[in-house]
Symmetry: C2
Subunit: 157 residues, 2 copies
Amino acid sequence: MSDLSRTSPEEVPDTEETAVDQEAVNALRSGVMRLSRRLKHQRVDESLSPAEMSVLGTLARCGSATPGELARKEHVQPPSMTRIVALLESKGLVRLEPHPEDRRQKVVTQTEQAEAMLEESRRRRNAWLAELAGRLDDDEWATLRAAAPVLEKLAQL
Amino acid sequence: MSDLSRTSPEEVPDTEETAVDQEAVNALRSGVMRLSRRLKHQRVDESLSPAEMSVLGTLARCGSATPGELARKEHVQPPSMTRIVALLESKGLVRLEPHPEDRRQKVVTQTEQAEAMLEESRRRRNAWLAELAGRLDDDEWATLRAAAPVLEKLAQL
DNA sequence: TATTGTTATACTCTATAACTATA
DNA sequence: TATAGTTATAGAGTATAACAATA
C-alpha cells in the first residue's frame, strides 16, 4: 500500500481527498517545470549553468565532496558530474585535490571566489524573485516561503 | 523601490527579514531546479517531453490557442513552439486548424486522445509523487499542497 | 512596414558505453 | 573482480538568424 495513506487513514481511496492531491500534484509538476525554465534564463552569471549553480550550492552546504557523491546528490550520472566539475574548476570556483585515503577518488572543494559569487548571485536572484513575489498576495508569498525548504527536502529524497 | 516592501513595511532592508527571504529564495530555486530534473525522468509516456506535457496542460486549462500564444505562455521562443506543436500533432494529441480571422495564424486544439492520456498520466504521476510525499511529515506535505497552486501562479506571472 | 509562423543551424546539457587506474 | 572517474559519442531540447506569407 502506498504511503499516501498518511493523508487518509484507511486505504488509498479514489475519492475527493485523492482528487485534491492529484490536483496538487499536477499544479506542483506544472509550476516546477515552468519556473525551472524561467530560472534558467535568470542566471546571475551567464557563464554558469543551473547545474553548476546547484553543485556550488551543495558544496556550500555540505563542504567538500567527491565527484561520485556530488553525482548522487544532484541525481546526475558520473560523466555529467565530471563535466560540471571540470567547468567549475576552469572558472576557478572549485579546487580538485587527491583523496587522502583512496587514490581513485578526488575531493572537490569550493574556492573563496565561489563564496563571493554565491553571495552576489543570492542578491540578484532575490531581486528577481522579489519582483515576482511582490505581485502575489502576502499570504501566497508566505505559503511559498514556508514551502521552499520542504520542496528542497522533497527534491533530495 | 521593490515590491519586496510588502513583507517589510519601511524599505528593502539588509536585515534579518531579508536574510530569511534570501534563504527562501535559495531553497525555492534549488528545490525547483532539482525536482524538475527528477521529474524529467519520471515521464509517464516516454515519448512525451516535459515541454510537450506542459503545453497539453495549458491547452487543457485554456482551450485552444495559437502557437504564438502558447510560446508566450510557456516562455519559450516561437521556433521551439513550432517544433513542440509539430511533435504533438504527429502523435495525434493536438489538431492544427486555420485561424478564422487571420490567415497568418493557426489554432491549436487538443484531441480526445490527449484528454485520455492526461488522465492516465495524472494517475501515474500521483503514484510517484505520493511515494515521495509519503516520506514527508503530514504538515510538510500539507505545506506543499497549499503551495502548489501558488507555485503555478508564480510561474505564470 | 510589422507580425505570425517556419526553416536552417548551432549550442548546451545529459546519458550510455567503453576505457583507465586503483582497491 | 569491483569501484571511481574519465573519454568518446549520440540524443534531446532550445535559441538565434534568416525567410515566407499575410496584415
